[in-house]
Assembly symmetry: C2
């Protein structure tokens, strides 16, 4: 393993390494993109994740090809990205986006210990919907066995952040072109009841928490 | 190259292959995650992209390590994902998300022809902000040379889509747990003027288009 690989190579002024920044980017997202290398080359797939301390957890079905590959402890890369805005400059060259991203390198390992696996599933659930673990039915033996859970250390994680207005060349400032930032954010809509929902069942606290997490603008 | 690798392996009922679905998922997104394999293993990084017909374009600085690796024509995987909602089931096992994703495999190749490269830059710009190419200053020679542009065919692309309510086990339907979907979407906020903006310059048509593309909910 090469600890240097987590170093941000391009535009290093955008690289930030403190754990709090890494954690905050991970915690404001529910989806990551996982990359592994297989016989025919790289594969990148989206999947949910959870974070607890300096560890992230991934899970999936024992039938999932990527999970089966990963349980062998091969090198993986995991990226998590928040898109915060489009940066419109006066020149195309200086267009950009505002974003907060984390890239992790490491070897994911399968969790086989029952208590650790149950804890990881709780982390995964509560990462997406804080508090949900206590509300819904927990896994039975069959479901538990059908699920592969992997852990990946954040030891080799780095963050990259761009904020603020465009950086135009001084000679472009007088151009008659609007420049600025279009902020983008994720918002939650009104919860949609399952058609089979027992009449009168109201959205539970974890659902209310989710609505506050992604508030309508 | 193995055309079979674009086949969706897991939960094949969620796999859709028609070009229109692939195109629509790509066109509703501006960010992709690109994976390549380097000496120390896989690397996944976020980047902007553009689509024109059956081709996607990627670009970046000649100083960017990943772009320099990719210009050699190595195998890449590109994933684009829309998160449309959180699917809250009565059991943890049946929790899911609603999403629309595309995964592409292939060998990206560098565009060296000037006209083709200029066209690709226009596609990249207008993919993020339709109409912007005509509004802002186009690349000068130095900027043009500093930018690597790559193309990747969508020949080996597949889409995966999940929509709708949770699929709970029948014996869980009577549990007193709220189940349903929390819709998630991306919205644009009010454009923020660049501090150096010439007084009176109003947001241009491409900016208005962007506000309509990600309307406030």
């Amino acid at each position: 393993m090469d600890p240097e690989r987590a170093r941000v190579r391009r535009l290093p002024e955008r690289g930030v390494y403190d754990s709090e920044t890494v954690y905050s980017i991970l915690d404001e997202n529910i989806l990551c993109h996982v990359g592994i290398n297989v016989d025919h080359g790289p594969v990148v797939l989206p999947t949910l994740f959870g974070r607890d301390g300096d560890m992230i957890y991934l899970h999936g079905s024992v039938g999932a090809h990527m999970l089966r590959e990963m349980r062998g402890g091969i090198p993986v890369s995991v990226a998590v990205t928040s898109v915060n805005g489009i940066v419109a400059a006066r020149s195309h060259f200086n267009h950009s986006i505002n974003y907060r991203s984390v890239v992790v390198f490491g070897n994911a390992t399968e969790i086989t210990d029952v208590q650790e696996k149950l804890h990881a599933l709780e982390v995964l659930t509560n990462h997406v919907l804080p508090g949900r673990w206590e509300e819904a039915r927990q896994p039975n033996n069959s479901e538990f066995t059908q699920t592969i859970v992997l852990k990946l250390s954040l030891e080799e994680a780095s963050a990259k952040v761009r904020v603020g207005p465009p950086h135009d060349d001084s000679e472009d400032l007088s151009l008659d072109v609007w420049a600025g930032v279009i902020p983008l954010s994720v918002v939650a809509g009104e919860p949609v009841d399952d058609p089979d929902l027992t009449s009168g069942t109201a959205p539970s606290p974890s659902i209310q928490t989710a609505l506050a997490r992604w508030p309508a603008k």
